[in-house]
Protein backbone atom coordinates (compact mmCIF):
# COMPACT_ATOMS: atom_id res chain seq x y z
CA UNK A 1 0.00 0.00 0.00
CA UNK A 2 1.33 3.40 -0.96
CA UNK A 3 1.64 5.70 2.02
CA UNK A 4 1.60 9.50 1.86
CA UNK A 5 5.29 9.65 2.71
CA UNK A 6 6.14 7.25 -0.18
CA UNK A 7 4.07 9.43 -2.48
CA UNK A 8 5.77 12.63 -1.37
CA UNK A 9 9.09 10.88 -1.81
CA UNK A 10 8.18 9.92 -5.38
CA UNK A 11 7.02 13.46 -6.12
CA UNK A 12 10.26 14.82 -4.73
CA UNK A 13 12.34 12.43 -6.85
CA UNK A 14 10.31 13.28 -9.95
CA UNK A 15 10.75 16.94 -9.22
CA UNK A 16 14.51 16.52 -8.84
CA UNK A 17 14.66 14.52 -12.09
CA UNK A 18 12.63 17.21 -13.83
CA UNK A 19 14.93 19.95 -12.54
CA UNK A 20 18.01 18.00 -13.58
CA UNK A 21 16.48 17.36 -16.99
CA UNK A 22 15.70 21.05 -17.43
CA UNK A 23 19.26 21.97 -16.42
CA UNK A 24 20.67 19.38 -18.80
CA UNK A 25 18.46 20.61 -21.67
CA UNK A 26 19.41 24.24 -21.11
CA UNK A 27 23.13 23.35 -20.85
CA UNK A 28 22.85 21.29 -24.02
CA UNK A 29 20.97 24.10 -25.81
CA UNK A 30 23.53 26.68 -24.77
CA UNK A 31 26.36 24.30 -25.83
CA UNK A 32 24.64 23.91 -29.20
CA UNK A 33 24.19 27.66 -29.55
CA UNK A 34 27.81 28.23 -28.60
CA UNK A 35 28.90 25.67 -31.20
CA UNK A 36 26.69 27.27 -33.86
CA UNK A 37 28.06 30.73 -33.07
CA UNK A 38 31.60 29.39 -33.29
CA UNK A 39 30.77 27.76 -36.61
CA UNK A 40 29.21 31.00 -37.86
CA UNK A 41 32.42 32.81 -36.92
CA UNK A 42 34.47 30.17 -38.73
CA UNK A 43 32.25 30.55 -41.81
CA UNK A 44 32.95 34.29 -41.72
CA UNK A 45 36.67 33.71 -41.28
CA UNK A 46 36.91 31.17 -44.10
CA UNK A 47 34.59 32.89 -46.58
CA UNK A 48 37.24 35.01 -48.21
CA UNK A 49 39.76 32.17 -48.53
CA UNK A 50 37.10 29.91 -50.03
CA UNK A 51 36.01 32.65 -52.44
CA UNK A 52 39.59 33.18 -53.58
CA UNK A 53 40.25 29.50 -54.12
CA UNK A 54 36.95 28.05 -55.33
CA UNK A 55 35.35 30.99 -57.14
CA UNK A 56 38.40 32.91 -58.37
CA UNK A 57 40.61 29.86 -58.75
CA UNK A 58 43.58 31.36 -56.91
CA UNK A 59 45.73 28.36 -56.03
CA UNK A 60 47.72 30.09 -53.32
CA UNK A 61 44.90 30.27 -50.84
CA UNK A 62 43.74 26.64 -50.78
CA UNK A 63 42.87 25.78 -47.21
CA UNK A 64 41.87 22.61 -45.37
CA UNK A 65 40.10 23.01 -42.03
CA UNK A 66 42.12 22.13 -38.96
CA UNK A 67 39.26 21.20 -36.62
CA UNK A 68 35.99 19.32 -37.16
CA UNK A 69 34.06 22.53 -36.68
CA UNK A 70 36.20 24.39 -39.20
CA UNK A 71 35.76 21.58 -41.71
CA UNK A 72 31.99 21.82 -41.17
CA UNK A 73 32.20 25.57 -41.74
CA UNK A 74 34.03 25.05 -45.04
CA UNK A 75 31.45 22.45 -46.11
CA UNK A 76 28.68 24.93 -45.27
CA UNK A 77 30.34 27.51 -47.54
CA UNK A 78 30.75 25.01 -50.36
CA UNK A 79 27.13 23.89 -50.00
CA UNK A 80 26.05 27.48 -50.59
CA UNK A 81 28.24 27.66 -53.68
CA UNK A 82 26.84 24.53 -55.29
CA UNK A 83 23.31 25.64 -54.43
CA UNK A 84 23.77 28.82 -56.46
CA UNK A 85 26.53 28.32 -58.99
CA UNK A 86 27.04 25.84 -61.81
CA UNK A 87 30.16 27.11 -63.58
CA UNK A 88 32.07 23.97 -64.60
CA UNK A 89 35.44 25.30 -63.41
CA UNK A 90 34.09 26.20 -59.95
CA UNK A 91 32.30 22.87 -59.54
CA UNK A 92 35.40 20.97 -60.64
CA UNK A 93 37.50 22.72 -57.99
CA UNK A 94 34.89 21.98 -55.32
CA UNK A 95 34.49 18.30 -56.27
CA UNK A 96 38.24 17.72 -56.53
CA UNK A 97 38.83 19.36 -53.17
CA UNK A 98 36.02 17.44 -51.48
CA UNK A 99 37.14 14.10 -52.93
CA UNK A 100 40.70 14.66 -51.82
CA UNK A 101 40.15 16.01 -48.34
CA UNK A 102 36.72 14.78 -47.30
CA UNK A 103 36.29 11.51 -49.23
CA UNK A 104 37.71 9.32 -46.45
CA UNK A 105 35.65 11.17 -43.85
CA UNK A 106 32.34 10.59 -45.66
CA UNK A 107 33.20 6.93 -46.29
CA UNK A 108 33.77 6.51 -42.58
CA UNK A 109 30.53 8.38 -41.88
CA UNK A 110 28.67 6.03 -44.23
CA UNK A 111 29.83 3.06 -42.13
CA UNK A 112 28.44 4.62 -38.97
CA UNK A 113 25.89 2.78 -36.85
CA UNK A 114 23.86 5.98 -36.59
CA UNK A 115 21.33 6.10 -39.46
CA UNK A 116 21.15 9.93 -39.45
CA UNK A 117 24.91 10.08 -39.99
CA UNK A 118 24.69 7.57 -42.82
CA UNK A 119 21.93 9.55 -44.53
CA UNK A 120 23.91 12.77 -44.15
CA UNK A 121 26.97 11.04 -45.60
CA UNK A 122 24.90 10.00 -48.65
CA UNK A 123 23.64 13.57 -49.10
CA UNK A 124 27.21 14.88 -49.07
CA UNK A 125 28.45 12.15 -51.41
CA UNK A 126 25.75 13.11 -53.91
CA UNK A 127 26.09 16.89 -53.54
CA UNK A 128 29.88 16.90 -53.75
CA UNK A 129 30.18 13.97 -56.16
CA UNK A 130 32.55 11.96 -53.96
CA UNK A 131 33.55 9.35 -56.53
CA UNK A 132 35.83 7.59 -54.02
CA UNK A 133 32.79 6.53 -52.04
CA UNK A 134 31.13 4.82 -55.02
CA UNK A 135 32.42 1.24 -54.37
CA UNK A 136 31.13 1.44 -50.81
CA UNK A 137 27.74 2.78 -51.94
CA UNK A 138 27.48 -0.04 -54.50
CA UNK A 139 28.50 -2.69 -51.95
CA UNK A 140 25.81 -1.50 -49.57
CA UNK A 141 23.21 -1.52 -52.35
CA UNK A 142 24.13 -5.08 -53.37
CA UNK A 143 23.89 -6.29 -49.81
CA UNK A 144 20.42 -4.77 -49.44
CA UNK A 145 18.99 -4.21 -45.96
CA UNK A 146 18.89 -0.45 -46.45
CA UNK A 147 16.26 1.92 -45.17
CA UNK A 148 13.95 3.49 -47.79
CA UNK A 149 15.78 6.80 -47.59
CA UNK A 150 19.26 5.27 -47.78
CA UNK A 151 18.21 3.13 -50.73
CA UNK A 152 16.84 6.11 -52.65
CA UNK A 153 19.87 8.32 -51.95
CA UNK A 154 22.25 5.51 -52.90
CA UNK A 155 20.43 4.94 -56.21
CA UNK A 156 20.53 8.69 -56.91
CA UNK A 157 24.30 8.60 -56.35
CA UNK A 158 24.76 5.73 -58.82
CA UNK A 159 22.50 7.50 -61.38
CA UNK A 160 24.53 10.67 -61.00
CA UNK A 161 28.04 9.26 -60.88
CA UNK A 162 27.86 5.91 -62.65
CA UNK A 163 25.06 6.08 -65.20
CA UNK A 164 25.97 2.86 -66.97
CA UNK A 165 25.36 0.83 -63.82
CA UNK A 166 22.16 2.46 -62.64
CA UNK A 167 19.71 0.23 -64.48
CA UNK A 168 21.03 -3.00 -62.96
CA UNK A 169 20.63 -1.51 -59.47
CA UNK A 170 17.27 -0.06 -60.42
CA UNK A 171 16.14 -3.53 -61.53
CA UNK A 172 17.15 -4.94 -58.16
CA UNK A 173 14.93 -2.50 -56.32
CA UNK A 174 12.23 -1.56 -58.83
CA UNK A 175 9.44 -3.40 -56.99
CA UNK A 176 10.14 -1.48 -53.81
CA UNK A 177 10.28 1.98 -55.40
CA UNK A 178 7.35 4.35 -55.73
CA UNK A 179 6.66 6.17 -59.02
CA UNK A 180 7.97 9.40 -57.51
CA UNK A 181 11.19 7.68 -56.38
CA UNK A 182 11.71 6.26 -59.88
CA UNK A 183 11.34 9.76 -61.26
CA UNK A 184 13.78 11.17 -58.69
CA UNK A 185 16.38 8.58 -59.67
CA UNK A 186 15.91 9.11 -63.42
CA UNK A 187 16.10 12.85 -62.85
CA UNK A 188 19.78 12.43 -61.95
CA UNK A 189 20.57 11.15 -65.46
CA UNK A 190 22.04 13.21 -68.28
CA UNK A 191 19.72 14.44 -71.06
CA UNK A 192 21.33 12.05 -73.56
CA UNK A 193 20.61 9.04 -71.38
CA UNK A 194 16.97 10.14 -71.04
CA UNK A 195 16.73 10.38 -74.85
CA UNK A 196 18.29 6.91 -75.16
CA UNK A 197 15.71 5.37 -72.82
CA UNK A 198 12.78 7.01 -74.64
CA UNK A 199 14.10 6.49 -78.18
CA UNK A 200 14.82 2.82 -77.56
CA UNK A 201 11.34 2.45 -76.02
CA UNK A 202 12.93 0.76 -73.01
CA UNK A 203 11.24 -2.53 -72.24
CA UNK A 204 10.96 -1.70 -68.56
CA UNK A 205 7.75 0.36 -68.48
CA UNK A 206 8.49 1.87 -65.08
CA UNK A 207 11.91 3.04 -66.24
CA UNK A 208 10.47 4.31 -69.52
CA UNK A 209 7.72 6.18 -67.71
CA UNK A 210 10.25 7.78 -65.34
CA UNK A 211 12.36 8.90 -68.32
CA UNK A 212 9.29 10.41 -70.02
CA UNK A 213 8.43 12.31 -66.87
CA UNK A 214 11.97 13.67 -66.68
CA UNK A 215 11.76 14.61 -70.35
CA UNK A 216 8.59 16.55 -69.63
CA UNK A 217 10.07 18.28 -66.60
CA UNK A 218 13.21 19.32 -68.48
CA UNK A 219 11.20 20.22 -71.59
CA UNK A 220 13.47 18.10 -73.80
CA UNK A 221 12.29 18.84 -77.31
CA UNK A 222 14.03 16.30 -79.53
CA UNK A 223 12.12 13.13 -78.78
CA UNK A 224 9.13 13.76 -81.04
CA UNK A 225 9.37 10.59 -83.17
CA UNK A 226 9.69 8.22 -80.23
CA UNK A 227 7.00 10.07 -78.31
CA UNK A 228 4.55 9.64 -81.21
CA UNK A 229 5.26 5.91 -81.24
CA UNK A 230 4.67 5.71 -77.51
CA UNK A 231 1.11 6.98 -77.97
CA UNK A 232 0.32 3.42 -79.07
CA UNK A 233 2.12 1.85 -76.08
CA UNK A 234 0.13 -0.88 -74.33
CA UNK A 235 0.72 0.73 -70.94
CA UNK A 236 -1.89 3.44 -70.31
CA UNK A 237 0.49 5.44 -68.05
CA UNK A 238 3.19 5.51 -70.73
CA UNK A 239 0.59 6.64 -73.28
CA UNK A 240 -0.50 9.43 -70.97
CA UNK A 241 3.09 10.57 -70.33
CA UNK A 242 3.81 10.55 -74.08
CA UNK A 243 0.70 12.60 -74.67
CA UNK A 244 1.88 15.14 -72.12
CA UNK A 245 5.22 15.29 -73.90
CA UNK A 246 3.48 16.17 -77.16
CA UNK A 247 2.23 19.38 -75.57
CA UNK A 248 5.87 20.46 -75.48
CA UNK A 249 7.36 18.91 -78.59
CA UNK A 250 4.34 19.66 -80.77
CA UNK A 251 3.09 17.34 -83.45
CA UNK A 252 2.77 17.18 -87.21
CA UNK A 253 0.17 14.42 -87.27
CA UNK A 254 -3.30 15.28 -88.64
CA UNK A 255 -5.61 16.64 -85.97
CA UNK A 256 -8.13 13.83 -86.60
CA UNK A 257 -5.66 11.36 -85.12
CA UNK A 258 -6.17 12.95 -81.75
CA UNK A 259 -9.91 13.51 -82.06
CA UNK A 260 -10.76 10.63 -79.73
CA UNK A 261 -9.20 12.65 -76.89
CA UNK A 262 -11.72 15.39 -77.58
CA UNK A 263 -14.55 12.93 -76.87
CA UNK A 264 -12.72 11.28 -73.95
CA UNK A 265 -14.44 11.13 -70.58
CA UNK A 266 -11.25 11.82 -68.60
CA UNK A 267 -10.71 15.60 -68.29
CA UNK A 268 -6.90 15.24 -68.56
CA UNK A 269 -7.29 13.83 -72.09
CA UNK A 270 -9.48 16.77 -73.14
CA UNK A 271 -6.97 19.07 -71.43
CA UNK A 272 -4.08 17.64 -73.46
CA UNK A 273 -6.16 17.82 -76.64
CA UNK A 274 -6.87 21.50 -75.88
CA UNK A 275 -3.17 22.19 -75.52
CA UNK A 276 -2.37 20.35 -78.74
CA UNK A 277 -4.66 22.79 -80.58
CA UNK A 278 -1.89 25.42 -80.43
CA UNK A 279 -0.05 23.47 -83.13
CA UNK A 280 -2.92 23.75 -85.65
CA UNK A 281 -4.60 26.59 -87.54
CA UNK A 282 -7.66 28.23 -86.06
CA UNK A 283 -9.73 27.19 -89.11
CA UNK A 284 -9.21 23.56 -88.01
CA UNK A 285 -9.55 24.11 -84.29
CA UNK A 286 -12.25 26.76 -83.88
CA UNK A 287 -15.21 24.46 -83.29
CA UNK A 288 -13.24 22.18 -80.98
CA UNK A 289 -12.10 25.17 -78.96
CA UNK A 290 -15.60 26.66 -78.89
CA UNK A 291 -16.81 23.44 -77.27
CA UNK A 292 -13.81 23.10 -74.96
CA UNK A 293 -14.11 26.67 -73.72
CA UNK A 294 -17.56 25.64 -72.43
CA UNK A 295 -16.30 22.32 -71.02
CA UNK A 296 -17.69 21.15 -67.68
CA UNK A 297 -14.15 20.93 -66.27
CA UNK A 298 -12.66 24.33 -65.40
CA UNK A 299 -9.07 23.27 -66.12
CA UNK A 300 -10.09 22.38 -69.66
CA UNK A 301 -11.97 25.70 -70.02
CA UNK A 302 -8.96 27.59 -68.75
CA UNK A 303 -6.62 25.73 -71.11
CA UNK A 304 -8.95 26.54 -74.02
CA UNK A 305 -8.83 30.28 -73.22
CA UNK A 306 -5.05 30.10 -72.98
CA UNK A 307 -4.85 28.23 -76.29
CA UNK A 308 -6.97 30.83 -78.07
CA UNK A 309 -4.76 33.56 -76.63
CA UNK A 310 -1.74 32.05 -78.40
CA UNK A 311 -3.24 32.84 -81.83
CA UNK A 312 -2.13 36.16 -83.33
CA UNK A 313 -5.74 37.25 -83.92
CA UNK A 314 -6.96 36.02 -80.53
CA UNK A 315 -9.06 39.15 -79.89
CA UNK A 316 -11.16 38.55 -83.00
CA UNK A 317 -11.50 34.86 -82.17
CA UNK A 318 -12.75 35.70 -78.67
CA UNK A 319 -15.25 38.20 -80.16
CA UNK A 320 -16.50 35.53 -82.52
CA UNK A 321 -16.77 32.99 -79.74
CA UNK A 322 -18.73 35.37 -77.52
CA UNK A 323 -21.27 35.76 -80.33
CA UNK A 324 -21.51 31.98 -80.77
CA UNK A 325 -22.22 30.94 -77.16
CA UNK A 326 -24.33 31.59 -74.07
CA UNK A 327 -22.32 29.75 -71.39
CA UNK A 328 -21.96 32.24 -68.51
CA UNK A 329 -18.81 30.64 -67.06
CA UNK A 330 -17.06 30.65 -70.42
CA UNK A 331 -18.07 34.26 -71.10
CA UNK A 332 -16.73 35.29 -67.69
CA UNK A 333 -13.49 33.38 -68.25
CA UNK A 334 -12.92 35.10 -71.60
CA UNK A 335 -13.75 38.54 -70.21
CA UNK A 336 -11.46 37.99 -67.21
CA UNK A 337 -8.64 36.91 -69.48
CA UNK A 338 -9.08 39.91 -71.77
CA UNK A 339 -8.94 42.21 -68.76
CA UNK A 340 -5.69 40.56 -67.67
CA UNK A 341 -7.47 39.10 -64.65
CA UNK A 342 -8.46 35.75 -63.34
CA UNK A 343 -9.92 32.66 -64.90
CA UNK A 344 -11.77 30.42 -62.49
CA UNK A 345 -9.66 31.55 -59.57
CA UNK A 346 -6.33 31.08 -61.32
CA UNK A 347 -4.13 34.03 -62.17
CA UNK A 348 -3.63 34.34 -65.90
Amino acid sequence: MITISTLSYAVLVSFIILVLLTIWISIDASRYQHKEKKKERLVRENRQRCYDYFIEGQIVSKHVGTSTLERQAIVQILESYIMYVKDAAILKRIYTYMNRYYGAFYKKMLKSKNSVERINALYYILDFQIVDALPLVERRLRKGRLSTKERLESLKIIAQLEEEKIYSFFEQYREQLTEKECFTIANQLEDDTIYDIVNSEHEDEIWLLAALQVMYKRQLMYGQVAVHQLLEHPNENVQQAALHMLMITGTNLPLQQFEHYFYAEQPYKRYVFTNLMTYYDIQDTYFYLLTLIQDQDFIVRQAAVQTVSTYANSERIFEHMLEDMQDTYAIEAIEAFRNGGIIDGTMV
Binding site: V43, R44, Q48, S80, Y81, Y84, K86
Partner: protein, 273 residues
Protein backbone atom coordinates in the same frame (compact mmCIF):
# COMPACT_ATOMS: atom_id res chain seq x y z
CA UNK B 1 7.97 70.84 -91.43
CA UNK B 2 10.33 72.96 -93.48
CA UNK B 3 13.20 75.00 -92.09
CA UNK B 4 13.30 78.53 -93.56
CA UNK B 5 16.04 80.27 -91.67
CA UNK B 6 19.13 79.59 -89.60
CA UNK B 7 18.83 80.16 -85.86
CA UNK B 8 20.75 83.09 -84.47
CA UNK B 9 23.43 82.03 -82.07
CA UNK B 10 21.57 83.57 -79.07
CA UNK B 11 18.42 81.61 -79.87
CA UNK B 12 20.41 78.47 -80.48
CA UNK B 13 22.27 78.81 -77.15
CA UNK B 14 19.00 78.56 -75.20
CA UNK B 15 18.13 75.28 -76.89
CA UNK B 16 21.71 74.05 -76.69
CA UNK B 17 21.79 74.42 -72.89
CA UNK B 18 18.58 72.43 -72.59
CA UNK B 19 19.89 69.69 -74.88
CA UNK B 20 23.18 69.60 -73.00
CA UNK B 21 21.28 68.88 -69.78
CA UNK B 22 19.37 66.10 -71.51
CA UNK B 23 22.57 64.64 -72.91
CA UNK B 24 24.10 64.38 -69.44
CA UNK B 25 20.92 63.19 -67.74
CA UNK B 26 19.92 60.58 -70.32
CA UNK B 27 23.56 59.65 -71.00
CA UNK B 28 22.93 60.18 -74.68
CA UNK B 29 25.09 62.07 -77.18
CA UNK B 30 24.77 64.78 -79.80
CA UNK B 31 26.94 65.87 -82.65
CA UNK B 32 27.61 69.34 -83.98
CA UNK B 33 28.75 69.79 -87.55
CA UNK B 34 30.40 72.99 -88.70
CA UNK B 35 30.11 73.57 -92.46
CA UNK B 36 32.07 76.26 -94.27
CA UNK B 37 31.83 77.14 -97.95
CA UNK B 38 34.98 76.81 -100.07
CA UNK B 39 36.17 79.81 -102.17
CA UNK B 40 34.13 78.95 -105.28
CA UNK B 41 30.88 78.82 -103.29
CA UNK B 42 29.27 81.74 -101.52
CA UNK B 43 27.91 81.62 -97.95
CA UNK B 44 24.44 82.38 -99.34
CA UNK B 45 24.59 79.44 -101.77
CA UNK B 46 25.68 77.09 -98.99
CA UNK B 47 22.95 78.38 -96.69
CA UNK B 48 20.26 77.92 -99.36
CA UNK B 49 21.40 74.39 -100.08
CA UNK B 50 21.52 73.43 -96.38
CA UNK B 51 18.07 74.89 -95.70
CA UNK B 52 16.61 73.16 -98.75
CA UNK B 53 17.86 69.80 -97.55
CA UNK B 54 17.06 70.49 -93.89
CA UNK B 55 15.26 68.02 -91.67
CA UNK B 56 13.10 69.06 -88.74
CA UNK B 57 14.94 66.65 -86.40
CA UNK B 58 18.13 68.75 -86.66
CA UNK B 59 18.90 72.31 -85.61
CA UNK B 60 20.52 74.70 -88.14
CA UNK B 61 22.26 77.77 -86.78
CA UNK B 62 24.90 80.43 -87.39
CA UNK B 63 28.00 78.96 -85.79
CA UNK B 64 30.11 81.99 -86.80
CA UNK B 65 30.03 84.65 -89.51
CA UNK B 66 31.23 82.19 -92.21
CA UNK B 67 30.28 78.82 -90.74
CA UNK B 68 26.90 77.13 -90.53
CA UNK B 69 26.29 74.79 -87.63
CA UNK B 70 24.06 71.72 -87.64
CA UNK B 71 23.12 70.00 -84.40
CA UNK B 72 22.17 66.33 -84.68
CA UNK B 73 20.58 65.23 -81.40
CA UNK B 74 21.05 61.67 -80.14
CA UNK B 75 23.42 61.04 -83.02
CA UNK B 76 27.06 60.09 -83.30
CA UNK B 77 29.86 61.25 -85.61
CA UNK B 78 29.06 58.29 -87.84
CA UNK B 79 25.53 59.56 -88.41
CA UNK B 80 26.97 63.01 -89.12
CA UNK B 81 29.18 61.45 -91.81
CA UNK B 82 26.06 60.05 -93.47
CA UNK B 83 24.40 63.46 -93.22
CA UNK B 84 27.35 65.10 -94.99
CA UNK B 85 27.34 62.38 -97.64
CA UNK B 86 23.69 63.16 -98.38
CA UNK B 87 24.55 66.87 -98.48
CA UNK B 88 27.31 66.29 -101.01
CA UNK B 89 25.04 64.19 -103.19
CA UNK B 90 22.28 66.83 -103.02
CA UNK B 91 24.23 69.45 -104.94
CA UNK B 92 27.78 68.80 -106.02
CA UNK B 93 28.34 72.30 -107.43
CA UNK B 94 28.07 73.76 -103.94
CA UNK B 95 31.36 72.83 -102.32
CA UNK B 96 32.23 72.97 -98.65
CA UNK B 97 34.47 71.67 -95.83
CA UNK B 98 33.14 70.31 -92.59
CA UNK B 99 34.20 69.60 -89.03
CA UNK B 100 32.33 66.99 -86.98
CA UNK B 101 32.35 67.25 -83.23
CA UNK B 102 30.62 64.51 -81.22
CA UNK B 103 29.72 65.53 -77.67
CA UNK B 104 29.50 62.98 -74.90
CA UNK B 105 30.24 65.34 -72.07
CA UNK B 106 29.08 68.63 -70.71
CA UNK B 107 30.65 71.52 -72.67
CA UNK B 108 29.24 74.44 -70.73
CA UNK B 109 31.05 77.21 -72.61
CA UNK B 110 29.80 77.09 -76.16
CA UNK B 111 32.68 79.32 -77.16
CA UNK B 112 35.06 76.39 -76.39
CA UNK B 113 33.16 74.31 -78.91
CA UNK B 114 33.14 77.14 -81.46
CA UNK B 115 36.91 77.54 -81.12
CA UNK B 116 37.49 73.81 -81.47
CA UNK B 117 35.45 73.63 -84.68
CA UNK B 118 37.07 76.73 -86.15
CA UNK B 119 40.55 75.44 -85.31
CA UNK B 120 39.90 72.12 -87.02
CA UNK B 121 39.13 73.62 -90.44
CA UNK B 122 42.10 72.97 -92.72
CA UNK B 123 44.01 75.87 -94.26
CA UNK B 124 44.13 74.37 -97.77
CA UNK B 125 40.71 73.99 -99.33
CA UNK B 126 39.90 70.50 -100.52
CA UNK B 127 36.21 70.37 -101.47
CA UNK B 128 34.09 68.13 -99.26
CA UNK B 129 36.93 67.41 -96.83
CA UNK B 130 35.66 66.33 -93.41
CA UNK B 131 37.60 66.46 -90.14
CA UNK B 132 36.47 64.73 -86.96
CA UNK B 133 37.30 66.19 -83.57
CA UNK B 134 37.64 63.67 -80.72
CA UNK B 135 38.12 66.26 -78.00
CA UNK B 136 34.72 65.84 -76.34
CA UNK B 137 34.26 62.11 -76.81
CA UNK B 138 35.08 61.09 -73.26
CA UNK B 139 31.80 60.55 -71.39
CA UNK B 140 31.32 61.74 -67.87
CA UNK B 141 32.10 59.07 -65.26
CA UNK B 142 29.09 56.78 -64.85
CA UNK B 143 28.24 56.21 -61.22
CA UNK B 144 26.51 52.86 -61.08
CA UNK B 145 24.90 51.55 -57.93
CA UNK B 146 24.53 47.81 -57.45
CA UNK B 147 22.58 46.22 -54.62
CA UNK B 148 22.70 42.56 -53.69
CA UNK B 149 19.75 41.46 -51.57
CA UNK B 150 20.37 37.92 -50.40
CA UNK B 151 19.76 36.16 -47.09
CA UNK B 152 22.53 33.57 -47.44
CA UNK B 153 25.67 35.29 -46.13
CA UNK B 154 28.07 33.17 -48.22
CA UNK B 155 26.19 33.83 -51.45
CA UNK B 156 25.81 37.49 -50.57
CA UNK B 157 29.57 37.82 -50.15
CA UNK B 158 30.24 35.82 -53.32
CA UNK B 159 27.95 37.98 -55.45
CA UNK B 160 29.09 41.25 -53.90
CA UNK B 161 32.72 40.41 -54.45
CA UNK B 162 32.29 39.07 -57.98
CA UNK B 163 30.36 42.22 -58.96
CA UNK B 164 32.91 44.51 -57.29
CA UNK B 165 35.56 42.98 -59.54
CA UNK B 166 33.80 44.23 -62.66
CA UNK B 167 36.19 46.63 -64.26
CA UNK B 168 34.78 48.87 -66.96
CA UNK B 169 36.39 52.06 -68.21
CA UNK B 170 34.63 55.22 -67.11
CA UNK B 171 32.40 53.43 -64.63
CA UNK B 172 32.48 53.87 -60.87
CA UNK B 173 30.70 50.95 -59.24
CA UNK B 174 29.20 51.24 -55.79
CA UNK B 175 28.16 47.82 -54.51
CA UNK B 176 26.22 47.24 -51.31
CA UNK B 177 24.57 44.15 -49.91
CA UNK B 178 21.49 43.65 -47.76
CA UNK B 179 20.29 40.66 -45.77
CA UNK B 180 16.64 41.16 -46.62
CA UNK B 181 14.21 43.36 -48.48
CA UNK B 182 13.07 45.29 -45.43
CA UNK B 183 16.64 46.46 -44.73
CA UNK B 184 17.06 47.50 -48.35
CA UNK B 185 13.81 49.43 -48.51
CA UNK B 186 14.34 51.12 -45.16
CA UNK B 187 17.71 52.45 -46.32
CA UNK B 188 17.96 55.65 -48.33
CA UNK B 189 20.48 53.96 -50.63
CA UNK B 190 17.97 53.20 -53.37
CA UNK B 191 16.33 56.61 -53.47
CA UNK B 192 18.89 58.65 -55.42
CA UNK B 193 18.59 59.44 -59.15
CA UNK B 194 21.55 57.23 -60.07
CA UNK B 195 21.31 54.18 -62.34
CA UNK B 196 20.83 51.20 -60.06
CA UNK B 197 21.12 47.46 -60.64
CA UNK B 198 19.31 45.36 -58.04
CA UNK B 199 20.09 41.66 -57.68
CA UNK B 200 17.47 40.17 -55.45
CA UNK B 201 16.65 36.65 -54.35
CA UNK B 202 12.98 35.71 -54.71
CA UNK B 203 13.04 34.02 -51.30
CA UNK B 204 13.88 36.41 -48.50
CA UNK B 205 12.81 36.82 -44.90
CA UNK B 206 10.40 39.66 -44.00
CA UNK B 207 9.91 41.05 -47.52
CA UNK B 208 10.39 38.71 -50.45
CA UNK B 209 11.93 39.45 -53.84
CA UNK B 210 8.61 39.85 -55.67
CA UNK B 211 7.39 42.42 -53.11
CA UNK B 212 10.63 44.37 -53.49
CA UNK B 213 10.28 44.42 -57.28
CA UNK B 214 6.67 45.68 -56.96
CA UNK B 215 7.70 48.39 -54.49
CA UNK B 216 10.56 49.58 -56.71
CA UNK B 217 8.38 49.60 -59.82
CA UNK B 218 5.84 51.80 -58.06
CA UNK B 219 8.45 54.52 -57.54
CA UNK B 220 8.19 57.56 -59.84
CA UNK B 221 11.79 57.18 -61.04
CA UNK B 222 11.55 53.39 -61.34
CA UNK B 223 13.19 53.36 -64.79
CA UNK B 224 16.61 53.77 -63.20
CA UNK B 225 16.35 50.22 -61.75
CA UNK B 226 17.48 47.16 -63.64
CA UNK B 227 16.26 44.23 -61.61
CA UNK B 228 17.71 40.71 -61.61
CA UNK B 229 15.53 38.20 -59.76
CA UNK B 230 17.26 35.01 -58.59
CA UNK B 231 14.86 32.12 -58.21
CA UNK B 232 14.98 28.35 -57.94
CA UNK B 233 11.76 28.04 -59.97
CA UNK B 234 12.49 27.41 -63.66
CA UNK B 235 8.87 27.02 -64.84
CA UNK B 236 7.85 29.38 -67.66
CA UNK B 237 4.78 30.57 -65.72
CA UNK B 238 6.94 31.70 -62.78
CA UNK B 239 9.22 33.57 -65.18
CA UNK B 240 6.29 35.17 -67.02
CA UNK B 241 4.76 36.30 -63.69
CA UNK B 242 8.11 37.81 -62.65
CA UNK B 243 8.54 39.68 -65.95
CA UNK B 244 4.96 40.93 -65.65
CA UNK B 245 5.71 42.70 -62.37
CA UNK B 246 8.81 44.36 -63.80
CA UNK B 247 11.79 42.04 -63.49
CA UNK B 248 14.40 42.72 -66.19
CA UNK B 249 16.42 39.50 -65.94
CA UNK B 250 15.13 36.27 -64.41
CA UNK B 251 18.01 34.15 -63.15
CA UNK B 252 17.32 30.50 -62.35
CA UNK B 253 19.63 29.08 -59.73
CA UNK B 254 22.01 27.34 -59.89
CA UNK B 255 23.32 29.77 -62.48
CA UNK B 256 26.59 30.36 -64.29
CA UNK B 257 28.26 33.06 -62.24
CA UNK B 258 30.32 34.12 -65.25
CA UNK B 259 27.14 34.56 -67.30
CA UNK B 260 25.44 36.55 -64.55
CA UNK B 261 28.45 38.86 -64.34
CA UNK B 262 28.39 39.25 -68.14
CA UNK B 263 24.69 40.18 -67.99
CA UNK B 264 25.35 42.76 -65.29
CA UNK B 265 28.24 44.18 -67.36
CA UNK B 266 25.95 44.41 -70.37
CA UNK B 267 23.37 46.36 -68.37
CA UNK B 268 26.06 48.80 -67.23
CA UNK B 269 27.41 49.17 -70.78
CA UNK B 270 23.91 50.03 -72.01
CA UNK B 271 23.95 52.91 -69.56
CA UNK B 272 27.24 54.07 -71.05
CA UNK B 273 26.06 54.15 -74.66
Amino acid sequence: MTVNELLHIEEFMKIYRFLQEQTIRQRTKMTIVGIRATSNTSYAQLKTMILQTARSSNLYFELSFDTIGVLLYDSTAKEAQYYLKRLKEAEEQVTWNAVICELRQNVEQFSVLQEEITAQFKREEIPFSIVESHRFLQSALLKQKVSVIEANAVTRQMLTQAISHIDLPNVALEVRSFEDGELFLSSDWYQSEQAHIVIVNAKLPRKNGIQIVSDLREMPNQRKFKIFLISSLPAPEDQIAAYAIGVDVYVVRPFHLAVLIAQIKQQIMRGLR
